[in-house]
Structure formats: structure tokens, C-alpha cells
Symmetry: C2
């Protein structure tokens, strides 16, 4: 059996940065060549970044992708890497005519994989299965491919596939069995969700058995707006056995030797739906066997923390912000955001502001200062009372209007510091608060990014406790243990207006993440009156969420593009014409 | 030839208000019966409202729709309307098993049309063509139907279709020809875009010729978040001749007599893909012929104005706001919003606040007061300087930070008045400003709804001039003619930082609405340096738009769900790897 040394480049790319992404491909290809690889594979849409969303409708973007691909092929050859087959994702279209502005959206545009060799595009494959659920809108953007591309590389037949193809039975992996390939390369941009890695491995194993071939699954790493790609690349044998597995959240090159069956037939009979290419690749066996190893799995807390750190770091750096700023209240949410920000950017790029009012407790101010000292971030105090009094002297505000005023003055101060000093403002509302609308629009919700947007309050505490076990504890114990409070009126506690988060979070998870109705939530053991109250709160807060900052997705259903609800919506669970 | 008196109920429904929508169906069905109709048709998803978006993933919602439909059928019979066939849109699913939470999203869920008769659901049809472009995500939500439903009503065969079916050739209208039907009923929730009515008529005419049958096209009326449904219902003969046409933006019942061919065969042979029902409907000819007439077309300005008025009115009323509030600067944008709001809600529900700063000109204050006097809206003055000074006394802010502070203090005041008094805050940025980011985030962008979000600045002026010709002019002439200014520093003008709107708007239209690239925009005659500058401004303002208030869509591509771009995006037209 021939031995193919494959390199999976589990790396980061940036949407729209075609020249930067091409430079990364050249850099990692050189590393693969130096490691003696016979083939290197990069993630889905590596050249353009993923997801490119409506950029796909611009012909200029499609042309830039195609031109970038041709240039990359030539540059690789000029780099002396022409003999290394390079599999890379990009966006293509069927032809200039098919992508005129008048064409039906999606028509003719392709989520494509190319194999580059000797300065040329030697083969292309168009993704068959287009996900159109959750955060994905690929039916909006692409036309599905129908043919399988099989490349004979030296003596081994290798099939190309893309991402969602691996999630569907009976697709190109079945065709790959008909074609008798030895290896299926599956390139991905698969966003992180908690425990998604537990789904990926059995999936890749099933497809390997379906294809009767080894499968090499390479995933992107990095943050793109609300998504984080977590790597977790996988190589399995034709029998489904796990051979190699990458880490999560870090760039790496997995180099692994695969013994693969030689292609049976020198001149295979043409089969419908299969396009063959022949690459005269020298497949000399390397003297020493190379195994990529199997990376250890992370704990849930590690996984989520690393996702949040990477999501924030890439949002800040890819958008070229020098630094971040946020209000540090002494409470748990802003404390966790501070720790994430320091882990992501280093303390010197993190600016925290204590914004005490007349209702702020001494312990709040102390806890904020304590965190600043522990982490070394930049810290200052801006009391809000003079500005609040300026409004109250000129307007008659009571109750909620007066409470919200304090949050909004804080928002104005943070935005003023952002404008004056150039920081990105972070907002620090957790998923539980976003769900029930426990926030002030244009107040504490102010900010360009929210690192914990998709983290329920109970998980915020869990993450804080876990992070404090990793080296020096950044978060003051008091911030973790004290009862949460917005401190917008004397002695206010979250528990004045909300149930305990241990009770609230499971209802939110059922209603938001799993689309359960009132009956199902009650059948699951939740208190009926509480269910009614929480569901109503979630329903009427939709208008706030529509204007919320983006933030890192870590769950199966995040607020944002993952969950699309009307604002104007009179459906209330438990009313007439909803289930009894 | 039998004469069928058809009634098209071009009416308003509310998302999620199943009992309220059912009540409307009963009310309009009674009117149809009183007019002697043999058949009444309601819009797509009339029972549930449209679009229901991710509500479709909740089984409780699907069940509420099905239960609501069965109850409606029984109630119609109890009302004495059992003998009137009622065609109504609703959401259905293939069965409880098919819509478990574990199922692939969209699987088994249907955008459905039912024919109700004698207290029962006598026939159903599932939409074949699911739009998944622009604002539509129907591949996310629904499974397409494949069968055509043909109902023999008295002696006439009537086929049921839904919305997008009429936009596609070779679909159910071709099957309808095979089935030899006399009439195709097409129920719609087709959102307004400027001049879309000019597309609809030839489209319906083409389908009639394709089917060889009369077509009755009924569209919804009303606002739902960013969409406005404009009615414009149409009846054409089998030869494509226009027989009747409804108004735009108003609820009405079009009652029209159609002479239709009798069904040829008493016992038609079964054909694949065609499901037949037989309704023993008495089709006595009414003694006097009824024609619905052809409503006159509106001018572009009338069309847009009515869309904006209806969009705002329905957002306010369906979300049960007592009133609206906004900053009235004396400039053209807030003046036009004020006039729209007064037309939508009456002056007593409209609250405008003059928020002068030290930089506000006398004419601004005078123009705002003048508008208040002309329209009779509620008006007050809240000078912002004391609050601005409160911040400046405690923070060192210069340049843009100081300018934005003024806009943000205005935002805080408006939100405080909203919290204190219960008004919905309107924001008044036009499409040109949104495109180039000429606004202050959490400042003048504060608000729950933006009536002119999709109106380019040049069209704002055009609308103002037109509205002033309709009865007493609400808008001061000075607000229309003076050069636009944000008045955030002494003698500031928009033209200090932006090109003239007459030059800017066509570039925005090309880039945003038509996805043209740099080369195409220059080839269209725009100045290259200006194109580069505008495109860059549009690109870097994406983060502001992501947090913008919803607002009424009037163009082919509105900001919001219609245009989905990444925030993190390094693609710059004209750079390397974009067209030369």
C-alpha cells in the first residue's frame, strides 16, 4: 500500500483579506513541504474567509477570489512548492454571465475547493450539501454541486468534499465508495458550539465507513463576528478508527502518514457524476513514519473559555482596534469579561472604568479595584453622579426612567472615552439577561462586542470559578459569591425582579435554545406561573435584542442570526389557540 | 359558462394573533357572503400573520395554527357561512413526529392554503416555490409541496397556489393547465417595494396564459416590522386581460364576477401530482353583474408615502404603543418623519422635542416650532447644554468625542421621556446617512423604529415637496431649502464631510442596492476618487447598521435582513485581488 503523508493546515483566515489569506497559505504550505507532506489541505473558503455572506453577490468579489486563486497557484510554484498538491477553499461561479446582477441570487455561485499543482488549478469541486439552518444561509448564496471530483495522486485516488457534505448520509461519500477512492478530504469552516466535538468524531467515522475510505477532516481556527471556528481536525481510517486529531482553538499543522490502497485500475471506466484528474505526483515514502497524535479533549469550561478568548481577540485584532474599554462594576459579568479580555489581549490593551453612582456599594468599588490589581489592566474611576444630577435638575424622572438614566450616563461616558481614545467598547450582558430583557437599551447594552452574549448567568459563575483555578486567580472571590445586583436603586438585587438564575436558566434554555412551548416546559418540571412570566419577558424583549451588539456564539442557538424572531408578535404561549 | 362571483379579501393580519386574525376572517367572510360571493380568498398565512420567522420551529405555534384553522372552520359554519368556500393561508406540518425538536429545521413544515367549507377543512395546498433571497428565508422554514390541489366548486375547477408560485414559470400553473382548471387562486404576502406593482401585473398575466385559466391574486395589506404589504390584488382572464385591480395600502374586498368554463369531465381521470376535491357548491348566478373595477395607480411619491405611513402606524399600533416621540431639529429628516407620524397616528399621539445646543441656529428652532404649529403635534423644548456641560466639566473631550456627546445627550433625554411617559422613540436617519455612517451610535440613532430608514436623502426632499402639495403644507419651506447640517459644531454642514447628496445617492444605490463593484460604478460615470471614498465609508459603517433600529423597507434592497454583510471584512474594492 502506498503511504501518503497528509498535512492538515488548521489555520486562521480573515473575511475579505484575500492577499493576507493567500500569504498564510503559502507560509503553511512551505511548512507542509518541509515536513515532507505529499498533500496539504486548508479549510473551506480559506482564501476568502468564511462566511462571506452577501459579499458573494458582488461580481467584483467573485472575480477577486478567482484571480486570487490563480495568483496563489502561480506564487506557490514560484516559491518552489509547485510539486506539493494544495487543497484550498474559495468562492467560484459558473461564469460571468451567470452572475450578472439580474440573475436570481445564488444562481451559479459555488462554495468551492481547488487542488493547486505546478502553478495551475488542477481540479475543482463544488460543495453538494448547503446548510440553511441556524447561522447558515447557504441556499441564499450558492448553487449545489452534483459531481464528485477524484484526483489520482501518485497511485492513490483522493476525493474532494466540503464541510456539510460530511453531515449528510448518501451524498458524495457514497459516490466516493463507487469511485473506489482511498481517501476523502473534507475541508471545513465549522463553527464552535459547546460539545460539538463530541458530534464530529462519530460523524466523520460514519462517513469513512460509508465511503470505505480514510477521511481527512480539516477545520478552520479563528473568530469571525459571532462565530468561532475551533479546529478539532480529524483523520480516521477506512474502518472508522481514529488516527489523528488536532487541538481546539489553536493554529496547527497536522502531519500524518496514511497507508492507503493503490488505485485498482490504471484507466478507470468513466462513471456518471465522477470527474477524474491525474496528478503525476512522486509519492516517495519518507524514511521515518510521522503520526500527528491525538490531542486531549478539553473540559467544558476550558472549551468555552478558549472560544470566548479567541472570539474576542480576533474581533479586536481583525478590526484593528488598539484596545478595549468597558465598565467594571465589581459584579460577576464585567469581572469575567475583564478576565477574558486580559487573556485575549494582555492587560496593557484592556481599559476598565469604575462608574460608581450614589447607589454603588463600597464592596462594588473595592471588588473592581481588586480585579484591576490582580490582572494589571488599566483602571480608572469616573463617578456618574454629577452627570446624572445634571439631567435630574432639568427633567422630572422617576422610577424606571431614573434607574435607566444612570445606566445611560455610563454608556455615554464609555462611548466618549472610546471616541476620545480609540478603544472598542465591550458590553457585558450575559445570555440570561439578554433573554429576559434585564438591561438598559443604550445603557449597559452599549458596546461594539459582547464576549459573554451567549453565556447563561449560571455558566458565567462556573467559568469564573474554573478560571480562578488556572494559575493566579484574576477574579475577586467576592465578585463570585455576592448576590447579583444592578445597583440602580438602594439595596436592589436581581432577585427582586427575576427568579434565581438556577431556576431561570433551564427555562430559557428550553424556550430559546430548544423551541419548547409552555406545555413542554411545564412537563419538564418547571413551575407554571414562572414559565408564564419568563416566556412573556423573553417575548417582549425582542426589540432590545434586535439592537444588541454581536457576541461570541457558544451554544446550539445564540441570540443573533441564529434565532430570528419578529418584534411585532402577539403570539403568547398559553393564550387562546396555543396548546392548553 | 358558469359565473363565479369571487371575493378577494385584501386585509391586514398580525403575526401571532391567531384569534384576532380569525375574527377578521369571519368579519370579511360575512361581507363576502352579503355581496353574494361564491368564494372568498384571504392572503398567505392570514391566520398566523406573515412572516412568522423562527416561530415556525415551535411545535406549540404549529399546533395553535392547526387548531385555529379547525376552530375557524367550525365558527364560520356557526356564523351561517358554512356554504361559502373560504380560502385562507396558515402554517401546517406533516405530523407531530415530523416536527420534533430533533428534526432538521424546515422538515415537514408547510406554508399552506386551506379551503374551508361546511365547518371542515375541505382541501389543502402546500406552497411549491419557497423564496430564499432578499428578506425571505423560506428554505430555512418550509418544505416545498409537490402536488397541485384542484377543487371543483359547483361546475368549475379551481386550483390553489401560494405567493412565490406565481413568480416561477413551469410550476403549479403549468400543472393547472394539465388539470384543465378554469381559475387559479394565488394567495400572497408580497412586501412592498417601489414600483413592484409594475412587475406584478405582467407576471400574473404570464401565469394566466401559462395556465390557460383566469388568475385571482390576493395580497395582504399592513405593516410587519420592516415590511409593508401593499395589497394591489389583481384578477386577470385566461387570455391575460386585466379584469380587476385593488388599491394599494388599504383594506378592501374586491368582488368580481368571472365567467369561467365548466369542468369538462364529470369524473376526471386521475393525474399524477394533482389532488382533486369536490365541493357541492350552489353557483346560482346573481341577477346583477358585479365588477370590482381597476384602481388607479399611485405616483411614486404617493406610493412611498403611504407605505411609510402604514409601516409606522402598524408598528406602533400592533405593538400597542400609545404614542411616538422624537427629536425635531428643524432639518428635513425629522420634519418628514413628523409629517409621516402625524398622517399615521394623528397629531395628538405625536410628541416632538426640540433639543437645542449652543450650536443650534435660530432658524432651526424656529423651523421646528413652525412645523409643530402647522401639524398640531405635541411640542416642547429641552435645551441640552446644561447636561452637555455636566459631562465636559468632568471629562476632557475634544473633536468628534465632543460632537458625539451632544447627540448622545439628546438620545438620553428622548429615552428618559420614553421611559417616563410611555412613547415609542423614533429615529430619523435616512438611508444615505445609514449607508455612509453619518450618525452617532446611541445618539441620533436612538429609537425603536425608523420611518425613513430606507429613504435616500434626495428622496426625503422629494417626498417633502410632494407632501406639501397635498392640502395644507405640514413642512416649513425653510426645512426643505436650507443646506443640511448636523449642527454639532459651529457652522457645520453635511457638505463639509460628504459629497452632495445628488452625487452620493446614485453611488450608494449602485453599491448597496445593486452590488456593483468599483469598476462598474466608475464605468457608470462616477468620479473614481469619490467612489473610493464612499465605498470605504459604507464598508466601515457596518457595525453601526448592525445595531440600527428597524424601519420600513421601500426599496429593492433595504438595510436590515435584506442585506447581510459581515462586520469583520477586509475586502476593499480597488485593493489587490479586487478588479483592477
Amino acid at each position: 500500500m502506498p503511504t501518503l503523508r497528509i498535512a492538515l493546515a488548521q489555520v486562521n483566515s480573515t473575511v475579505g483579506d484575500i492577499s493576507g489569506n493567500a500569504a498564510a497559505i503559502r507560509r503553511w504550505s512551505r511548512a507542509a513541504a518541509e515536513a515532507g507532506a505529499h498533500l496539504v489541505a486548508f479549510p473551506e473558503m480559506m482564501l476568502t474567509g468564511y462566511p462571506i455572506e452577501d459579499l458573494v453577490f458582488r461580481n467584483s468579489f467573485i472575480e477577486a477570489s478567482r484571480r486570487g486563486l490563480a495568483t496563489l497557484a502561480a506564487d506557490l510554484a514560484a516559491d518552489g512548492l509547485g510539486e506539493l498538491p494544495v487543497v484550498v477553499g474559495y468562492v467560484d461561479a459558473d461564469g460571468p454571465a451567470a452572475i450578472s446582477s439580474d440573475a436570481v441570487p445564488g444562481s451559479g455561485r459555488r462554495d468551492a475547493s481547488a487542488l493547486l499543482f505546478r502553478g495551475e488549478v488542477a481540479a475543482t469541486y463544488f460543495k453538494h450539501h448547503l446548510p440553511n439552518y441556524g447561522v447558515f444561509d447557504e441556499d441564499r448564496y450558492f448553487e449545489p454541486g452534483h459531481d464528485l471530483t477524484v484526483v489520482r495522486l501518485g497511485g492513490v485516488d483522493v476525493a474532494l468534499t466540503v464541510c456539510e457534505d460530511v453531515w449528510q448520509a448518501g451524498g458524495p461519500f457514497t459516490t466516493a465508495r463507487q469511485a473506489g477512492v482511498g481517501l476523502v478530504v473534507n475541508i471545513n469552516a465549522s463553527p464552535y458550539e459547546l460539545n460539538k466535538d463530541d458530534l464530529r468524531l462519530p460523524l466523520v467515522q460514519r462517513r469513512a465507513v460509508e465511503a470505505g475510505a480514510a477521511v481527512a477532516y480539516v477545520n478552520a481556527v479563528g473568530g469571525q463576528d459571532e462565530l468561532v471556528f475551533d479546529g478539532d481536525s480529524i483523520i480516521v481510517g477506512a474502518d472508522g478508527s481514529l488516527l489523528a486529531r488536532g487541538s481546539q482553538f489553536v493554529e496547527e499543522l497536522l502531519v500524518h502518514d496514511l497507508e492507503l490502497p493503490a488505485a485498482a485500475d490504471d484507466d478507470p471506466a468513466p462513471l456518471p457524476g465522477i470527474i477524474r484528474s491525474f496528478i503525476p505526483k512522486n509519492m516517495d515514502k519518507n524514511p521515518e513514519t510521522q503520526g500527528a497524535g491525538i490531542a486531549e479533549r478539553l473540559s467544558d469550561e476550558q472549551e468555552v473559555w478558549q472560544a470566548l478568548v479567541l472570539g474576542l481577540r480576533d474581533y479586536v485584532n481583525k478590526n484593528r482596534f488598539p484596545s478595549v474599554i468597558f465598565g467594571l462594576s465589581g459584579g460577576i459579568d464585567s469581572a469575567v469579561v475583564a478576565a477574558i479580555a486580559v487573556d485575549a489581549l494582555g492587560p496593557e490593551r484592556v481599559f476598565a472604568v469604575s462608574l460608581p453612582s450614589g447607589y454603588s456599594s463600597e464592596h462594588s468599588k473595592d471588588d473592581a479595584a481588586d480585579l484591576a490589581k490582580r490582572t494589571g489592566l488599566n483602571y480608572r474611576v469616573e463617578p456618574i453622579q454629577p452627570m446624572v444630577d445634571g439631567f435630574l435638575a432639568n427633567m422630572t424622572l422617576t422610577g424606571l426612567a431614573a434607574e435607566n438614566l444612570q445606566a445611560r450616563v455610563r454608556g455615554v461616558i464609555l462611548m466618549a472615552l472610546s471616541n476620545q481614545e480609540g478603544h472598542l467598547v465591550l458590553t457585558t450582558g450575559n445570555k440570561s439577561e439578554l433573554a429576559v430583557g434585564y438591561s438598559t437599551l443604550y445603557g449597559d447594552s452599549v458596546g461594539g462586542y459582547n464576549p459573554i452574549k451567549d453565556v447563561p448567568k449560571t455558566m458565567v459563575w462556573q467559568l469564573a470559578r474554573w478560571r480562578n483555578t488556572q494559575g493566579e486567580p484574576p477574579i475577586p472571590e467576592n465578585s463570585i459569591t455576592k448576590p447579583p445586583s444592578a445597583e440602580l436603586r438602594p439595596d436592589q438585587k436581581d432577585s427582586d425582579s427575576l427568579p434565581d438564575y438556577e431556576v431561570l436558566d433551564p427555562i430559557i434554555k428550553g424556550y430559546v435554545d430548544h423551541d419548547l412551548g409552555r406545555d413542554e416546559l411545564i412537563a419538564a418540571g418547571n413551575d407554571p406561573a414562572l414559565v408564564d412570566r419568563v416566556l412573556r419577558l423573553v417575548d417582549i424583549a425582542e426589540y432590545k435584542r434586535r439592537q444588541a451588539a454581536p457576541g461570541t456564539k457558544i451554544s446550539g442557538k445564540a441570540f443573533g442570526r441564529d434565532r430570528r424572531l419578529p418584534i411585532t408578535n402577539k403570539f403568547r404561549e398559553g393564550n387562546a389557540f396555543s396548546p392548553l
